[in-house]
């Protein structure tokens, strides 16, 4: 990739609008080219400047009431204002109609920045996170969660064996509150990856796994995106990413249990 070609893709890369393959090429170029890396850094600086909450203009306190009064005049007969919509504001688009708990989390985390945004360049990490979060959200649509329904790790693991070139670790953690409920094939870019599905109370956890290649390296990463909590790590030549609407401490417990099992090896 030449610098000119990179320049065409720098903004879409920065904005997570590239496919995984293209994003990887851009990432590789950035790692080798100081001038382009500088252009990337300048975009990051602009973003950080503009995303300071004080740069936004706050809505005047009385505007909402004023607009509600004007709106009610458009309805005949004009209604008497008996109630007031609470001044509770977070972006609606964060909320596909998931569990109510996701809503609470979205509010809780709404004001926090994407944690790793300051690590440069992290376009690839952001791309992976965005794709896996969207995989997770899609999996919550009716009939999308599970291809093989089983609470038995000895059923789920062989099911993957017939479909993937690698063998993802499948452990039932029911005793610890994380019930194995099945598995599914999913995609990261064009690559087929394993999604192992757990249930924790009323929350689902998608544990994604795919083989590590030499060109990628993911240190342990924890972040939240669009109200979902994400934890990524490497184990035994695989990259594992867990995505869930469960609380961060529950996710951490889950990940620690997975790591423990993986270190012990075997399927028990």
């Amino acid at each position: 990739m030449t610098c000119d070609e990179l320049y065409q893709q720098l903004d879409p890369f920065f904005d997570n609008e590239l496919g995984l393959a293209e994003a990887q090429k851009v990432q590789q170029h950035l790692e080798q080219c100081a001038a382009c890396e500088e252009a990337y850094a300048s975009r990051l600086a602009v973003r950080q400047a503009l995303q300071k909450p004080e740069v936004r203009f706050a809505t005047p306190d009385d505007l909402r009431d004023q607009i509600q009064v004007e709106l009610s005049k458009k309805v005949s007969p004009p209604r008497r204002r008996a109630w007031r919509v609470p001044a509770f504001e977070f972006p609606n688009w964060l909320l596909p109609s998931l569990a109510g708990a996701a809503a609470v989390l979205a509010v809780w985390f709404g004001s926090k920045l994407f944690l790793n945004e300051t690590r440069s360049p992290n376009g690839l990490l952001a791309t992976v996170t965005a794709q896996l979060v969207s995989d997770h959200m899609r999996s919550l649509l009716p009939d999308h969660l599970i291809d093989v329904v089983s609470t038995d790790q000895h059923t789920v693991k062989p099911w993957f064996a017939g479909k993937l070139s690698f063998s993802p670790p499948v452990y039932d953690l029911s005793d610890q509150g994380f019930k194995l409920i099945g598995g599914r094939l999913d995609y990261l870019g064009n690559q087929e990856i394993a999604a192992i599905v757990f249930q924790h109370h009323q929350h689902y956890i998608n544990l994604f796994a795919w083989p590590k290649t030499e060109s990628t390296h993911f240190p342990d990463t924890t972040l939240q995106k669009e109200g979902f909590n994400v934890y990524g790590w490497e184990a035994n030549g695989l990259i594992m990413w867990a995505v869930t609407d469960a609380a961060p401490d529950a996710l951490k417990t889950f990940v620690d249990l997975q790591k423990q099992k993986q270190q012990q090896g075997g399927t028990e």
Partner: protein
Amino acid sequence: MNEEEKLTRFETEMLPLMSDAFNLARWLMQNEQDARDMVQEAYLRAFRFFSGVRGETGRAWLLRIVRNVCYDHLKKRKVHSSDEELENIPDDSSPENQLQVKSEVEAVRSALASLPEDFRTVLVLREMEELSYREISEITQVPIGTVMSRLARGRQQLAEVLKQMREKDLV
């Protein structure tokens, strides 16, 4: 859906988006009073056409209306205003403002305010509202490729203006 139900649904879905609507209008109009008027007009217009949009589309839909209302007024302002009147419009990027030493936030605000409308709009939508290229393309009614190039040039210009401010010790 009767009018009363329509209003209730509209308010439930659209009022929570008011801070996004106001921020966009404020950045486009460059002063608070006009921004208030535009947001109100946009909400009334949106209510007329409302038939129950939801989630992601609802936000982009409302912001498109806000942007259109603002642009209509900016066009009229350009046609009808004499130069004198234009000078009287309070503007964050007026020269007196620029000569004072600014806080970091004021500097960023006046740098963004100094950019051409098209660039300012995509930067507000992308960096502050965190919308996707597709949504920005719907709101600004230009192709995604144009969104991309406006973002690239807007970011460069903004970085350049901020750099100049720092060099002149205005920050």
